[in-house]
Symmetry: C2
Subunit: 397 residues, 2 copies
Amino acid sequence: MLAKKYKDMLSQKSVIRELSEFATARGKEIGYENVFDYSLGNPSIPVPQEFTDYLIKILGEENPIKLHGYSPSLGIPEAKEKLAKSLNRRFNMNYTGNHIFMTTGAAGAIAHAVRCVTEPGDEVLAFAPFFPEYIPYINHTGATLKTVPANTVDFQINFDEFEKMLTDKVAAVLINTPNNPSGVLYSEETLRKLAKILEEKSEEYGHIIYLISDEPYREILFDGITSPYPANFYKYTLTCYSFSKSLSLPGERIGYVAVHPECPESETMVVMMGQISRGTGHNCPASLFQLAVAEFADLTADLSVYETNMNILYDALTELGFTCVRPNGTFYIFPKALEEDSVAFCKKALKYDLILVPADSFGCPGYFRMAYCIDTEKVERSVEALKKFVETEYPNR
Amino acid sequence: MLAKKYKDMLSQKSVIRELSEFATARGKEIGYENVFDYSLGNPSIPVPQEFTDYLIKILGEENPIKLHGYSPSLGIPEAKEKLAKSLNRRFNMNYTGNHIFMTTGAAGAIAHAVRCVTEPGDEVLAFAPFFPEYIPYINHTGATLKTVPANTVDFQINFDEFEKMLTDKVAAVLINTPNNPSGVLYSEETLRKLAKILEEKSEEYGHIIYLISDEPYREILFDGITSPYPANFYKYTLTCYSFSKSLSLPGERIGYVAVHPECPESETMVVMMGQISRGTGHNCPASLFQLAVAEFADLTADLSVYETNMNILYDALTELGFTCVRPNGTFYIFPKALEEDSVAFCKKALKYDLILVPADSFGCPGYFRMAYCIDTEKVERSVEALKKFVETEYPNR
């Protein structure tokens, strides 16, 4: 018999997928360049040329048996050492390669981090607005995702609701900063307060509450801001990272979990993730990409286009009267819809070839997400469409 | 709290790992070229040059945003179409791309195939001797692995024991042909008889018993033999494949599940695997390697060295009086040890710098495995060591 759990998932509609399919279909009618598709978070900039040159170089020069050989199940030691050193240099940490577990992107990282620090039935708390894939990511581990309602004032943490939900059942707390979909970076103050609460409650409940920090957008920051590193504030932190966004390599599936060196049994936790991977069928990410990202651990693609796009959209949206927190990073912006039902709002936008994503599935109804990882020229053209949409559909605002 | 299930696994000893560590340590003493390390199944031949050339070409010529972009969750359609066509051409099948789910090697393939066709608590039967990683692969899905004792006469299927164990609880049967560790290929007769029993029992129990066929060694065949394709005999077959061995790409983690087109809901099963991957953190294999293996779907590395090595070892072992079924393929040979306790036997072999793996963990005590994916020159030199080992330790045979 086919597994009921997975078969039942097929009947669940994905709003993002439906919108993306609409965009593709509409693109065939009027030319995709005329569809303002803000639905998908696919990087729109190339990997740096030196990264490509390096791949070509090692493919041409290295012994192919070694180059394409099995990676140890925890990842290639030399690659892990280089990544640890880069994190130490940038965030004043003390990782060694033994604190790093190589994964197929952040999805793989979260799958292993959560399985490592939870037992079936434990709760994992995340904060709205949140990336909707957290639901299967967490719930398929055997733990249960619970989501803390959003603080829509500034999209920092809603601490009142958080403290109510932080019961003895909670084994881990999952954060995502800078955040998909809000674009907001958690401040030092937020991280400090979060750490304090987690320390107190770990003490009170007599078990560690782990912090799983999902940071694929860590390097995409605006207005000259720098990102506090969550593990600096709390030693029970598992940092989940992906090179998908910083190096524009989403299809190559490469990332890691870094366990805080001062976390008890930190190296054991990495070895446990190796055991976990035997059951998930995850194994390691591709050896070639482990070697290459480690070589360029401090490098990013030219991420400046995302800031350019953000500025155009933020100015246009606020001018049109939208309530909108200015993003600190990522390639998302998260305004309040002009009517309560953001699904209805986004449906109306389709008439103007604007593909906006209602935020119900992000745990924040009434808002919508725009993923502006598209060409600036298109962002500029979309401003007219936005204006026409708002003026026509919401004339009395 | 750290997950007990995975932490407990750390205390389990891996014989293969211990032996491999011994080999490395001994290599530092006397030079690794003097250690006859038959412990690990790592390909010892390079990927074909045209494969490397193709990677270099697309890295240099293709748009990097597209090349390294997200793969759809079921795999890149064009790649899947090419792989389907190759299977159709070679094995007279009727796959389309919609019957193929791209995976990170055979481990990823089995993880998704088993989750797709079992419910927690169901049994999966495999046949000794079997690859010991099947234990975590299957048991971590929620199903339970049960193993049918070996037919040590010719390492085909022990049908008497199989029929006893094939109860109503069995949701799937897992085969591996040609087999790790025996090197034996299941004959057409075996596959026909297996299919007949599975059909009868599926009918009797009122539910499909799926066949999961793990075929990473499919192209490594000796003595001019051709491999029957298991799915040709049974329409409820999920074929799990890896390019690790045929193209010598084990570190790049690339393979697939192909669902028999006549299997009810075959295309749905592939879509279900996409849902499963959301929870395993598996996602897709690297886009670059999906594209490249599809381009060379009919190609293999120069696999002839494995046959050369097999012939040298088979002749030497039989001459020394070992009981040994001649392998039809793979890079393994599986002789009977010269005493009942094959662990003791393999320990004695270490004195002669021969790293042999006792087969207890393969479900076949009293035998041992040699993985002869090493240089032929070393295989030749090892014959003297084997001779000395046998003559010194077992003089009265």
